[in-house]
């Protein structure tokens, strides 16, 4: 039996530093151990909690590993067809301009089948928040190549590594949408270290605050891990992410207050 290091005496409300927000339900998430989807869910829920807007948010999660997001967020939610979340969110926001609407989309969803919907919702400047979880792979369907898969990276549909000559180049859709006049805030974040989590949360907060001000699209990419798809244990996956994903998808703000951030 392990030794007991509990300090029950300090477990008082005044001493509480951190606990799971109530905007997440108590359901255990179906994500694989260490998957960044969980962390990102938590941040979104915390922002909703802290802004006090639980009753005014409508979330849209399309197909992808996060298709069951509605089991975890304690808010009104819609499940959308693969790739169509920005259109669904447009429909919601147009009839409820005063509610907060966000989409939560994977890279396959947002940057492959949903390219048209993504570009056009951004171009129209729909006043919504788009959360874009880029794990470089189709997690849900078993690790197929995504538009964001890195050159040479093996997946179940590029078993010998992505051959860009045959399969095309990885798509930096975040840089593309930043070029559109309808986006107001475009940023790329990650959530695998405490410092990054804190920054990502600030970005998500800003993305929701912008909705109050009717600024157009706020677009937050989260570069994340897919342990199952990458076939790596979580801690190694994070290392791989830092060494391979981040050089290709560098973190940081791309567009703030409607202006490109100069590099």
């Amino acid at each position: 039996m392990e030794q007991n290091f509990d300090l029950p005496e300090i477990h008082t409300p005044e001493n509480l530093v951190y606990t799971k927000t109530k905007v997440l339900t108590d359901n255990v998430m179906h994500y694989c151990p260490g998957c960044g989807h969980g962390t990102t869910h938590r941040l979104v829920a915390e922002v909703i909690d802290e802004m006090g807007i639980q009753g005014q948010v409508i979330g849209v999660a399309p197909v992808g590993c996060s298709v069951l997001a509605y089991n975890y967020f304690d808010i009104d939610m819609q499940e959308a067809a693969h790739g169509r979340a920005p259109a669904v969110a447009t429909g919601i926001k147009r009839v409820f301009p005063d509610k907060f609407v966000f989409t939560y989309q994977g890279d396959g969803d947002l940057a492959a089948i949903g390219t048209g919907e993504t570009i056009h919702a951004c171009n129209r400047g729909e006043n919504i928040t788009i959360l874009f979880i880029n794990n470089g792979i189709y997690g849900m369907t078993g690790g197929q190549m995504a538009p964001t898969t890195l050159p040479g990276m093996p997946t179940s549909t590029s078993p010998y590594g992505r051959d860009v000559k045959m399969m095309g180049n990885p798509l930096k859709i975040t840089e593309l949408v930043a070029m559109l006049p309808g986006t107001y805030f475009v940023t790329r974040q990650a959530v695998h270290t405490p410092a990054l989590v804190r920054k990502a949360k600030k970005a998500i907060r800003m993305a929701f605050e912008n909705q109050k001000l009717n600024r157009g699209v706020s677009f937050v990419e989260i570069v994340s891990n897919c342990n199952s798809g990458w076939k790596l244990p979580p801690v190694q996956a994070i290392k791989w992410l830092e060494e391979n994903m981040l050089p290709f998808y560098p973190l940081g703000d791309i567009k703030v207050n409607g202006e490109m951030v100069s590099k």
């Binding site: 499940e79 067809a81 169509r84 429909g91 147009r94 409820f96």
Partner: protein
């Protein structure tokens, strides 16, 4: 007296939508129905009633905008013509699966493929049997006049909300493009958000404190529960069959020969019937107004009385299957069709009846 106007069918749909208190229209242009969005845009419904009208980037986007807004308990519609409706099949299946009310107008043109822009009824199967995947049904209304184009909009919204089911108005280039007299009805107010909260507790309007969150989805990974959901849908369709069958019967009381036709074909058959009656032929006309649920019972009854049935369709023979299923071998059922944008004339319908049924 109500206001009378001369309008195109497509315009009547648009005006009716504003008057029915529709909250939103999302669509993409395609001939022969672009007048719907054009009329709406010209009318500035955002000023008249606050209705939202948005030209989407594609039909796929449009139907998914409908999904999002319908899930909010709003009265939402889209319109297109055949190729565009094909693109909407996935979305329609989702909407049916998630049990969302909405209105879809298909002003049918000749197919397959790009085909022709001329009128057709060749999307009957797609509309009534489910062009998308899975066991679902649309409730399908087939207007035969511009007035019905107008009237069926409110009816469609009412049925859509009664059943939480998408309703399709299956029209065609004739009804969409022709002008006829329309009696314009009253302006119904759009529902307020409070009314929506009260009437549609399933709608995602933002979680209310102390109440459960609302989830709109068509996903159920557990097959047992998915089957339950399917059974619920089937029960709903059965209820539609019991309560919503609509048809018009003309001269069926003494008819020896029965024409069955919907939409603009029914108009042509009416003239053919008149021509035939003038020649002493006892012809009746049964016009299904709801294509799903189909008026099978009345047809089965009529089948016992008449000597033969001819369906007239602007397609290669689609509704004829539902007529045969209804009639169940009791009497001969034949099909006469023109297609690819060709429209049968009353005289040729009469000839077909004589050849295939009376003589045959």
């Amino acid at each position: 007296m109500k206001e009378l106007r001369l309008m195109k069918g497509n315009e009547a749909i648009a005006e009716a939508a504003i008057r029915a208190g529709a909250d939103a229209y999302f669509g993409y242009p395609i001939t022969p129905q672009s007048e719907v969005i054009e009329y709406l845009m010209a009318e500035k419904p955002h000023e008249r009633t606050g209705m939202v009208v948005l030209q989407a980037e594609s039909e796929v986007a449009a139907i998914n905008m409908v999904y999002g807004a319908a899930a909010c308990g709003k009265r939402v519609m889209t319109s297109s013509s055949s190729p565009g409706i094909s693109l909407k099949q996935e979305g329609l299946s989702y909407i049916a699966g998630a049990e969302l009310p909405c209105l879809i107008l298909n002003v049918v043109r000749g197919g397959p493929g790009l085909g022709t822009i001329q009128p057709s009824q060749s999307d009957y199967f797609q509309a009534t049997k489910g062009g998308g995947h899975g066991d679902y049904r649309l409730l399908v209304l087939a207007p035969a006049s511009v007035q019905e184009m107008y009237d069926f909009v409110k009816l469609a919204f009412d049925l859509a909300f009664k059943y939480r089911n998408p309703v399709m108005i299956l029209s065609d280039g004739v009804i969409g493009q022709m002008m006829e007299k329309v009696e314009i009805g009253e302006q119904y107010a759009r529902l307020t958000n409070e009314q929506i909260d009260e009437l549609y507790p399933w709608a995602t309007t933002g979680k209310k404190t102390g109440q459960d969150r609302r989830i709109i989805t068509s996903l159920e990974l557990d097959p047992g529960r998915q089957e339950k959901h399917n059974l619920k849908l089937q029960a709903k369709y059965k209820k539609m069959q019991e309560e919503e069958v609509r048809y018009e019967s003309l001269n069926c009381e003494d008819a020896e020969y029965l024409l069955v036709a919907f939409g603009s074909s029914a108009r042509i058959c009416q003239k053919a019937m008149d021509l035939g009656r003038a020649q002493g032929l006892k012809i009746g006309l049964l016009r299904p107004i709801t294509l799903y649920p189909f008026p099978s019972e009345v047809l089965n009854d009529l089948a016992s009385k008449v000597k033969g049935i001819l369906t007239v369709e602007m397609n290669a023979g689609q509704m004829v299957e539902d007529v045969r299923l209804a009639v169940c071998g009791k009497v001969k059922v034949e099909h006469y069709g023109r297609f690819g944008g060709m429209i049968p004339s009353p005289t040729e319908v009469l000839q077909a009846l004589e050849q295939k049924i009376i003589g045959g």
